[in-house]
Amino acid sequence: MTDMLMTAADAGLLSCHNCSLLSRAGSGQHADLLCPRCGAVLHKRKPNSIARTWAFVIAAFICYIPANLLPMTVVTSLGNVQEDTIMSGVIYFMQHGEWPIGLVILIASVVVPLTKLFILIYLLISVQRKSQWRPVERTRLYRVTEAIGRWSMTDIYVVTILVALVQLGNLTTIEAGIGAIFFGAVVVLTIIAAMTFDPREIWDNMESTHD
């Protein structure tokens, strides 16, 4: 039977997302069926994956706006207060010849979260439109979103370290700004968004035409 293209769903089987054991789907209702081996809740597909992923993507976009407009760091130096947003930090480094650092922050804080959100939006729309175009490549795009999201945390960690190190009383102190909270929210929301999306939805559209 392995020469045929048959999915677990076709065979009436549920694959455990955690330990990969296959269990027979009960008749109709299997709301709280647990994996007999590891105890995880079994689902044919991740529950409400399209709606949930949209919710997290939209929430991430909303948080991304204040994350860019509000300051990430507030530097107080001899009474002068200087507030830096993500982009003003990047521009500062680019202008002062520190372009590798500017580039790292630009990639981690702007390119990675936006790429991830746009890929997820594309995948959501393609699944909702029952697209059959290049499922292998679309699955690969999904893997990219899963892999890159964590690297957006870089700037949050930089702020943490600066805050801890630069505390020189009246001379200079660095505080984390409100923008950092929103940016942290963006990172967490995009990671959850990638988790709630189910790449098998891409393939479900392929099978409906084979029948």
């Binding site: 990969s20 269990s23 960690y157």
Partner: protein, 203 residues
């Protein structure tokens, strides 16, 4: 149909015969979407256990000593991982301090401890109490362990500050770097099927 020798691809749901390549190092992939179905690892239990033990030692060192010191006009500030988290908390940014605490200290620590709890008894042919539930928990945690990202954060911070003052790397910085390599190696050598095959369950 016998489901015991079948596995479904996690990314496209296609059924495959369970690839059996015990004791060989190789990856089997889905023939439709190319996702990794299973990674075979030689001596997975021994390797995971050894790397986890090394990881525990490095984790303790990395969190006990300052990783950077900042020297300007005779004033020296040092920071450990936990002191950075506490400073953020005192500035009222508790949301970020909790995020940093979880992703760089709590989650990696829980993962190391659970791997020790699971693989140490397995090494001596015993099954720890409630192994399935405990091991399931650690698998759900792995996206939230971000020490390697933290190391990039340290490097960026060093470059940012190097023009401003004297930056002295501490002992913990080197243990961080080694810890990240060790954690990655432990994850790469952990064959979760070795654990699931030990779980007894009712069909």
């Amino acid at each position: 149909m016998n489901t015991e020798n079948l596995i479904a691809c996690h990314e496209c749901d296609l059924l495959h015969r369970i690839p059996r390549h015990e004791g060989r190092r190789c990856v089997s992939r889905c023939r439709r979407c190319n996702a990794a179905l299973h990674r075979g690892v030689e001596n997975s239990i021994d390797r995971t256990l050894a790397l986890t033990l090394a990881g525990v030692v490095l984790f303790v060192v990395a969190n006990s000593f300052p990783f950077l010191a900042f020297k300007l006009q005779g004033q020296v500030t040092q920071t450990t991982l936990i002191s950075g988290v506490i400073d953020l908390y005192h500035q009222g940014k508790w949301e970020i301090s909790i995020l940093v605490l979880l992703t760089t200290i709590v989650v990696p620590m829980i993962q190391l401890l659970i791997q020790l709890y699971v693989f140490l008894p397995l090494k001596f042919n015993r099954t720890p109490w409630n192994m399935a539930a405990v091991f399931r928990f650690t698998q759900n945690l792995s996206p939230w362990s971000m020490m390697e990202v933290f190391l990039i954060g340290i490097l960026v911070a060093i470059v940012k500050l190097v023009g401003m003052a004297q930056i002295i790397p501490g002992l913990a910085l080197w243990s961080f770097a080694l810890l990240i390599v060790t954690l990655a190696a432990a994850a790469a050598n952990l064959d979760s099927r070795v654990v699931w095959d030990r779980v007894e369950y009712q069909r």
